[in-house]
Symmetry: C2
Subunit: 212 residues, 2 copies
């Protein structure tokens, strides 16, 4: 899915163009940054997402600006990234971060009423698989208040950097410390709501996520 | 700094418009998503940043598309966000995430040659304070290969959600589990580079960050 907009020119060795590898990165996270043009100006909005096949789903209040613009079918760019650590080289120039990032392009499209529930489930499953079956599903009014936008991925690319710093050969003799500082995302224990009825156990979806 | 583009209309109780509070959020992170218009299409690119006063600095290879576009002085939108946990309500509709996010608007401007080093130090200090003094500073050729873009913040707003789920009154009687799943960012121990000379200790900047 490489072409003009998504071809990575800077540090091409970090580029990933295989869809299945890119989707693995997308599926780890739930927050993306959606860019679109509004009144001639660029706007980037952070929002939750779900993915199924070559489709990205985002949702919002029916009257939100992002949603009412995207449902017009306009072009959109979506970006997500994780910083997994700092990479400290001997030279300022070769400092970097370890990361994985995805940038994709497509067009917005409003999900039809009769497919809205299914699309919302895709977002829900993407964030915490199985939760949809363990809660009260949307009422008619709640569905009315919500719109879902489908973005068909037209172009996509990813970049990944891992490992230690790479310095210029002559710099390895310098007396500067070099190495990595890992950033780890840790999923904490589930915190029951204060108002939770006393006889309700932690459900499967939560156990699967927090590993307890 | 509230006006048309940055006024938060959805869930306005989560909005933050005080500059000092917004900057606290911006200063916790180092990765943002930069949106601009290229050939009439929106593009969002993840990149590192630094902040000083009302200025955001980003850098890149002198020939990178993002840099060569932004140095033309075009409009730009910058977004950053942290998901601090999932918020599981009894109803699908009231599911949410705890997060902090910032969206800002401004215009790109190329940092002049004689101020480039200073701007790079701002980015470096933003990511890991004090590191600039503990490494080999950029050579003339390295500076030539790098450009820095300054974005004066013209509009900015933030949103924050914390705490437990809020359900509709009648849903509190339902037999569904509700609560929070915290996501914690943990800074790991520093990993010295394999090729590190044996007599080099972990420097102050790293100790300050990893807390050891």
């Amino acid at each position: 899915m490489k072409n003009n907009k998504s071809k990575i020119k800077r540090v091409p060795k970090r580029a990933i163009y295989e869809k299945k590898d890119i989707y693995k990165i997308l599926d780890k996270e739930c927050l993306c940054h959606v860019g679109f043009i509004y009144n001639g100006s660029p706007i980037v909005i952070p929002t939750l997402y779900g993915r199924k096949d070559d489709l990205i789903y985002i949702h919002g209040a029916s009257i939100s600006r992002m949603i009412t613009e995207l449902e017009k079918g306009i072009e959109v760019s979506v970006s997500m990234a994780n910083v997994n650590g700092l990479v400290l080289a001997r030279s300022a120039f070769h400092h970097s971060v370890n990361y994985e990032s995805v940038v994709l392009f497509g067009k917005g499209k409003l999900v039809e009423e009769n497919k809205k529930n299914e699309a919302l489930k895709i977002i829900s499953d993407h964030i915490i698989h199985g939760r949809w079956e363990e809660c009260r599903l949307p009422s008619e009014n709640e569905l009315k208040a919500t719109k879902v936008i489908e973005i068909k991925i037209e172009e996509i690319s990813a970049k990944v950097r891992t490992g230690s710093p790479i310095d210029d050969q002559q710099d390895y003799e310098l007396d500067y410390w070099a190495g990595e500082i890992p950033f780890n995302k840790v999923i904490g224990k589930a915190i029951p709501d204060n108002k939770l009825k006393s006889d309700i156990n932690i459900p499967e979806s939560v156990k699967n996520l927090v590993g307890s």
